[in-house]
């Protein structure tokens, strides 16, 4: 009885555990997967995939981040509002970075013949 989370929580009576108790097995599996993905991203950086290298690295990093968010940070078990708050921030960062890149790429060529991030003289 001591070993099972819910039995213990139930034994606590009115002070039942708040939040979802993530099973130990899930936490260990996530930990192992994160370490394996770290190895994978190092290995992938050693292979020449041309312009895909950055994409592959970002894909693996996003997969790792998703695992941390869902299980270590409990988003998988929490109310959706918490994920909405976080994803909103990510969307605004994406908007910020992509528009800044569009802007910088669009003007660099006009300002300097050739190439470069430049400010007008």
């Amino acid at each position: 009885m001591r070993e099972t989370a819910h039995a213990e929580a139930a034994a606590a009576g009115q002070t039942a555990a708040v939040g979802h108790v993530v099973p130990l097995r899930v936490l260990v599996a996530v930990w192992g997967t994160l370490l394996a993905l770290t190895g994978l991203t190092v290995a992938a950086a050693g292979v020449d995939l041309g312009s895909y290298n950055l994409g592959v690295a970002m894909l693996i990093a996003t997969a790792k981040a998703t695992l941390v968010l869902l299980f270590f940070m409990h988003l998988r078990y929490d109310r959706p509002i918490l994920a909405i708050v976080f994803v909103t921030a990510l969307l605004f960062v994406a908007l910020f970075v992509s528009i800044a890149l569009l802007d910088s790429n669009a003007y660099a060529h006009q300002l300097i013949p050739g190439y470069g991030p430049a400010l007008p003289k």
Partner: protein, 271 residues
């Protein structure tokens, strides 16, 4: 650990925490605290988002600087640090679980393990910083590294620049005057290729030190918070019904891990 009939949440000598009057129950109080923390984490994402934006703009405009300069970073130490931080996230997740189950000694031990791993991360980061400092691989005007003996056998001097390279495609603009870190005025264009180190390698190190430095500050704050949680857990302030501070510190710590998960491939694994 004394498990009485009253449950493990109210071990002898423990300060029991009451639900504030404006909350219906412990669960609602816990959920409200978490919402506030996630909003704070959103602002943290926006803070680092600015730096990721600077990284993206510099890298898209000067890919050659990033490809050249990332070789000065120690990939092995970076990978070890990533693993260390992932392990600390794991011990943190276990700590929150221990708090939920009311296992006080386990909670203190796991928080201690998390602090120890965080210190390990900072130690390795310190070794890396020390090496960069000695080699002069610093930001802006402080950059004084001799780039000649670069990893893939680069020549001592820059190749002579053609006098009239009017139509020649160059990576560096002839006169890009910008904020600190951009090209100096009147600098000759450098032809693309492995003939010499690209100009303005210090831009990469400015980005590197700013991003890892801000992350490092977060690690130090996290260590302070974790140590504080250890003291409070030792005093028995937490119970299965009240673990908001532990859980929120955990969320903060996982965010620190999350940011490093992106910093590692972006800075160390450029290709």
């Amino acid at each position: 650990m004394a498990a009485g009939t009253t449950g493990e949440g109210t071990v002898a000598g423990a300060r029991t925490h009451r639900v504030a009057h404006h909350f219906d129950n412990a669960e609602q109080q816990f959920e409200s605290g978490k919402l506030g923390m996630w909003i704070f984490l959103a602002t943290e994402i926006l803070l680092f988002g600015g730096l990721f934006c600077a990284y993206a703009v510099y890298r898209s405009n000067h890919p050659e600087v990033f490809i050249y300069a990332h070789r000065f970073l120690d990939k092995t130490l970076g990978a070890i640090n990533t693993a260390v931080l992932i392990c600390s996230s794991f011990t943190m997740a276990l700590a929150v679980r221990a708090a939920q189950l009311g296992r006080r000694r386990q909670l203190v031990g796991l928080l201690g393990a998390t602090v120890a791993l965080a210190a390990c991360f900072l130690g390795i980061k310190g070794l890396e910083y020390e090496k960069k400092w000695k080699e002069g691989l610093l930001w802006g005007a402080h950059f004084h590294a001799k780039l000649a003996p670069a990893p893939p056998a680069l020549p001592q001097t820059l190749p002579p620049v053609p006098a009239a390279a009017g139509e020649e495609r160059s990576l560096i603009p002839p006169a890009a005057i910008g904020p600190a870190g951009l090209a100096r005025p009147g600098q000759p264009a450098v032809a693309e290729g492995p003939e010499g180190p690209p100009h303005d390698v210090q831009v990469f190190f400015a980005v590197y030190f700013l991003m890892t430095g801000l992350h490092g500050v977060h690690v130090i704050i996290g260590m302070a918070l974790l140590s504080w949680m250890m003291v409070r857990a030792g005093r028995g302030e937490f119970s299965p019904g009240y673990l908001t501070p532990v859980d929120l510190t955990g969320l903060y710590w996982h965010l620190v891990d999350l940011i490093w998960i992106f910093l590692f491939p972006l800075l160390y694994l450029i290709r």
